[in-house]
Subunit: 306 residues, 3 copies
């Protein structure tokens, strides 16, 4: 018998139990191994809708492909031409989608915890899947990161994971540090001091990159989110790369078993030397691949909840 995590709305990994997360990971791996229809064919059409208020190639397309691999019908809401432009609230848009027969909605928004008034509304009968909420969380990215690490090392216990870079603007950093800690990994932070604050101290030390580079199993480089920095950049690309990036020199000091991760899109030669992106230690392409299977598991889990 296949065990499937039954999750009504997938909005934050922090709210999931360890068992639910491990079930999702197991199911994602199963989808990956077969790359085929594992799911019981639905008796009726399932309609998914994607609502992306922020630009995205990976997350959006990855969900789309996952939806189509599960045989779902997909409604792509063009945020710029929808009635949201006539001043309609997200709540009323979901009332509409629910009435039209949409079963699951994937939303990316810059509003933290945008789902709070959606998931308890009796009038809305859609499963909500969080595709990222501002600087809040990015739970499907967290799941695919966990999947990539688990694939490589089998377990999380006592792994040393460095999260490096634009910490305060990163949805990924927060979810990953919490989940990895929960599963027994040790976190270390690095990057510019200006992009670090006391929020992270509870989870791990803050160290210069050169002090940790030869001690970590996983090196997670974060994207410099130029679009979220209002004030002028304090660093040139070259400076950033030299001070906080994975240069070719630093890469040589990595342990043999160490892997490089990045949520992408990458600023080549800023966070990572361009040549390293496609090097054997880099699991960046694997992360993207795993994203599709992790999202299939998520969509299956919410559709199986009722």
């Amino acid at each position: 018998m296949t065990l499937i995590a039954k999750i009504d709305h997938f909005v934050s990994v922090e709210d999931l139990t360890n068992e639910q997360i491990l079930l999702l990971l197991k199911r994602a791996s199963a989808f990956k191994q077969k790359d085929s229809w594992l799911w019981d064919s639905p008796k009726k059409q399932i309609f998914a809708a994607n609502l992306f208020f922020e630009n995205s190639t990976r997350t959006h397309n990855s969900f789309y492909i996952a939806q189509r691999k599960l045989g779902m019908d997909v409604l792509e809401l063009d945020v710029k031409t929808s009635s949201l432009q006539k001043g309609e609230t997200l709540y009323d848009t979901l009332v509409t989608l629910s009435a039209l027969g949409v079963n699951v909605v994937v939303i990316r928004s810059n509003v933290k915890r945008y789902w709070e008034n959606l998931i308890n509304a009796p009038i809305i009968d859609c499963h909500v899947v969080n595709g990222g909420d501002g600087s809040g969380g990015h739970p499907s990215q967290c799941l695919l990161d966990l999947m990539t690490i688990q694939e490589e090392f089998g377990a999380f216990s006592d792994l040393r994971v460095a999260i490096v870079g634009d910490l305060i603007h990163s949805r990924v950093a927060r979810s990953n540090m919490q989940m990895l800690t929960r599963f027994g990994a040790k976190i270390i932070f690095s990057g510019p001091k200006e992009w670090h604050n006391e929020e992270f101290d509870h989870y791990g030390q803050f160290l210069p990159l050169d002090d940790l580079i030869d001690k970590v199993d996983v090196l997670m480089m974060l994207r410099v989110q130029h679009e979220r920095h209002n004030n002028q950049q304090n660093f040139s690309k070259e400076e950033y790369h030299k001070l906080y990036g994975l240069t070719k020199e630093r890469a040589k000091r990595l342990q043999k078993r160490a892997i490089i991760m990045h949520p992408a899109p990458i600023n080549r030669d800023v966070e990572i030397a361009s040549v390293l992106v496609e090097s054997p230690k880099s699991k960046i392409v694997e992360q993207m691949k795993n994203g599709v299977y992790a999202r299939m598991a998520i969509l299956e889990a919410v559709m199986s909840s009722r």
Copy 2:
């Protein structure tokens, strides 16, 4: 044997016979009851194209879902990136779509009766379905409104229907007043005097909302179409609500069997007090649901015409 209205182009309800309308309504109800494939599977792929020159969530997505429920392939034309931007006319766009093998085109445009040179062109072999033509008509909305009223009351004869609000800018008001009159209902109008003109006198009286509220079976509130009012708004939201809106106080005076309708999107606390939107008398969500089935019936009717 299933009776299906065979309509070459669905462009205005006014051009349909009563029998055609009743057949469409019957078929829409059948789709709703089964929510399944009633239609004889087409032997070959059917391609539908959606061309929306004006923003729309409900109508556009509702047609999309109806198309997919009927197993059609859907071409979404992005009006902003198509050759319409290179100065191509709607006529030449339809020549192209027809040549590419598109069978049915749903168009929303701000040009009244935009279809006139399209439906008689020998070179264009597409069925045209009107998704709204400026302040002209909105026939699929009319059909779903009729469906919602018929579901509630069984028939239209002698029903008292009030249409309230932005009459002169409303595609919905015109089609509904004509069709409901044809089927024996009595129409009353209300709202700001500035948004009413002699065009409506033939169909019914114009009365203050407080004079009719306890006498109607159906209260159709129209959306204040801010985007069509060029001159500055004459009313604040609060004023409009107090003078012409369905306030909580007015709602208490409604007959027991009375229903509240609105084509949506709603300006909450303008046309209707927000809490009333999800109240038992409100059929607004039901209207949206019925929209999918009404549009399935329309698409089936045009595809069955040849």
Copy 3:
């Protein structure tokens, strides 16, 4: 046994052998005759992605319909909301699409030979199909033009083909003159002298339209590409039509068997008198029809290459 041209990437017709082109044309005709599934149903889902950096109705929609007729799943990349807006390169976008499991990517770009670093990258596992590269080539248009001429005349040998108009900005002109020459047709050029240069001399004479009109089998009118002319237009529409366009008077001088072609969108009454567009000699609608079948053959060829 069905012969299918196996082409890894369809980027320029100039790189194809005559045999490959003739196989593609044969296969396109077969698709047209049956308008049905000729292709061996793929065992697994095929994902196609469309990336159009320039406006297009015909090419884009034609590829989409071809993809759907072949049963492919289609990912429409909205260039304006994708991570390309965050500064991501085309290379990295294709790395992503490849990782997500996309099998074939159709790209239209204004960058000449944009595919050069894409098709040899070991990390990118997508077939590239060129939907037009700036003023470079437009190979699928060339194939549909060849198909239309072949349908009409059976062969290309000794056909007299005039290519008229905006030669220097035309992707179509270059590919067509080369391929038609290769297959034995005779090319003649016409149009404004400013839009002609020595590049074309190798392929044929440059003559006034009135000197060639009664001697050609195929009259290919090119679109005046207003959006590519930076400096102000040298001609009014009326002047252009009178001097270089196919007027009603000129059309009377065409040979009985001559056909009129145009890649569309047409500037009516500029390149061609509006009434002639739908006249019996005009194969413009047929070109659009053939576009779908030519693109089915192209997509089949790249998917059959491995």
